[in-house]
Amino acid sequence: MYQYNEDDQTLIEERVAQFRRQTERFLKGEISDDQFRALRLMNGVYIQTHAPMLRIAGPYGLLASRQFRKLAHIARKYDKGYCHFTTRQNIQFNWPQLEKIPDILEELASVQMHAIQTSGNCLRNTTSDHLAGVCKDEIEDPRPYCEIIRQWTTLHPEFAYLPRKFKIAVSGALLDRAATQFHDIGLHLVKNDAGETGFQVLVGGGLGRTPIIGQIIRPYLEKKHLLSYLEAIVRIYNLYGRRDNKYKARIKILVKETGLEEFTRLVENEWQLIKDNLELSPDRINAIKAQFTPPAYDSTSAEDTSFAQRQLENQAFATWVKHNTVDHRVPGYRIVFLSLKAQDSPPGDMTDTQLDAVADLADQYSYGQIRSTHRQNLVFADVKQADLFSLWQKLETLKLATPNIGTVTDMICCPGLDFCSLANAGSIGIAKEINEALDNMDYIHDIGDVKINMSGCMNGCAHQSVGHIGILGVDKKGAEWYQLTLGGSSENEAAIGERLGPAVAKDQVTKAVTTILDVYIKQRLDDESFLDTVKRVGITPFREEVYADN
């Protein structure tokens, strides 16, 4: 993975010092609340219901074991012993004290981590495929380009006060696991007719209040032009994006109001004027690529026979292998998901003990690297099949082996009313209730791939609009109600979920979800997936059952 050079290190240290001075000036009353708000947000600091919240960047989801140990230490020393993995591969602490945040940032800088631009109206952390570099359907590893973009976005002087936040995602595989169609800019590594790789560029996607699927602005962009093209898009956005209404300020609204054709013309014109001055040289690309070379895989690992044997002997292990591991491009290795969706803990949360233990396991089994996924789980990318059984046993004791990856209980869930001052309704409690109602693993596995996404308000932090089942907290005369949608997807065939009907009361949500699943089981043909069934039969059969009593 990418290792900082001297300049990278200097930059994050100088950033910590700068924020320390700003915090001191704020505490002395020399910076107004409004001004400090903008400054702290660009350093990852929100002020929430109980305390400030600190969001730390997980650059394209890739972290090292020593960085996990640092997170564990911060959780213990500055927080209440846990942290939260977000849908944009970042890490959040819910209980730090404002005065201590510069110290936390300094600790992070000592392990090449930071919180720069993890919130605020600026260029945010770039996200990517959590299976980058190891999956079988990859055209090219997207991470070197993510790192090039990370550097370009970091402290970009022209684009720190954009109309609204700006998010970029990069995918290098056939299957889009990075929700690139729902980002301000989505980049897909593709091959052109000549067999060269470059980028397909999408623009104007987004979730939140107005979910919109991104559109192709350029079908093929040569790699050397990556940064100039991004710069052209962001400059046009900075100049013309709406600043009069924060709900209409995202680039998706500019693209919609200007029209894709005119928007494209503006961007292409701008790009023509800058492209020759901002080329990425092959040397630069290769130097970054060299930091993502694959580990020295053991070529004999496929000869192992214990893995097959263990699965025959131990049903629980076999079930876990089936649901929580996937094929690796190198024979004899598998990719392992660590489920952060155990029944009794909030989705995406980890304790300090778990963080430390995972760091040790990563060192032992997966070259000391850990990835976070946009569905709020973790990945060990390079585990030998012969090691899976002992790894599984250890993960079991840590409660990180719930065999539910990609199933109904692998929910995405925002902090909701428990932590968030914007929430209309709770979400963690509902997740828990659904989990308790669905405690039969065989049933869960029979249902298969169903993605439930639940947000406590319209801001849609948990991407409810692209959940196969989306649950959105709404406020009805001070009471918590929930709007359900069906059929959303953030993968290749991107779709925004359709409303099932009127919002339901809090005590009816779990029943509505189980009813939806029952209807699916009744309606499905052979091994048809939930999403395919919804597409085929439409929403009516589900609506009729859920609202049958009304």
Binding site: I31, E158, R243
Partner: protein, 150 residues
């Protein structure tokens, strides 16, 4: 009134002429609307000329006249309005403008570093006691990832 220019605290020797005021001798700045309206008269003005731009103004409107203009003020109605950052960049790198570009209005001193990186070389503040702190922020970073103007 003092300002920061080229990393020095100096006296401001420009005066602001509003749209309903008579032109006067000396170094004066006028709005873009005034510039367009009274351009012929202004070109014979005794003293240097400056033009004030709002974020909603387009740089293209003065692109032809840049050699006549020795000061461009970029006004911030609010510090969150980042259009001036792109305007400064465009003036310097696309139009090769070499005169003074000055930030005015409601921006904050914590923005100085970025402002100077996009080519703004002069800064006016309502509270001149902030000038020394503002000046010191220009040294916040010794490294950066992007090519800059300064």
């Amino acid at each position: 009134m003092q300002i920061i220019k080229d990393k020095q605290i100096i006296d401001d020797n420009w005066s602001y002429v509003s749209d309903d005021e008579e032109l006067r001798a000396g170094n004066i700045s006028v709005s873009l609307a005034r510039w367009k309206k009274d351009k012929q008269q202004l070109l014979h003005h005794d003293g240097k000329l400056g033009v004030r731009l709002e974020p909603s103004d387009s740089i293209d409107e003065i692109a032809e006249d840049l050699k006549e203009i020795e000061l461009i003020e970029l006004n911030f109605p609010a510090f969150t309005d980042g259009r001036a950052f792109s305007h400064a960049w465009l003036l310097r790198s696309r139009h090769h403008y070499t005169g003074e570009i000055r930030a005015t209005g409601h921006y904050m001193l914590d923005q100085l570093f970025y402002l100077s990186r996009v080519g703004i070389n002069a800064f006016k503040f309502e509270k001149s006691e902030e000038l020394p702190v503002a000046l010191s922020t220009l040294d916040d970073f010794t490294v950066s990832y992007q090519k800059s103007i300064n």
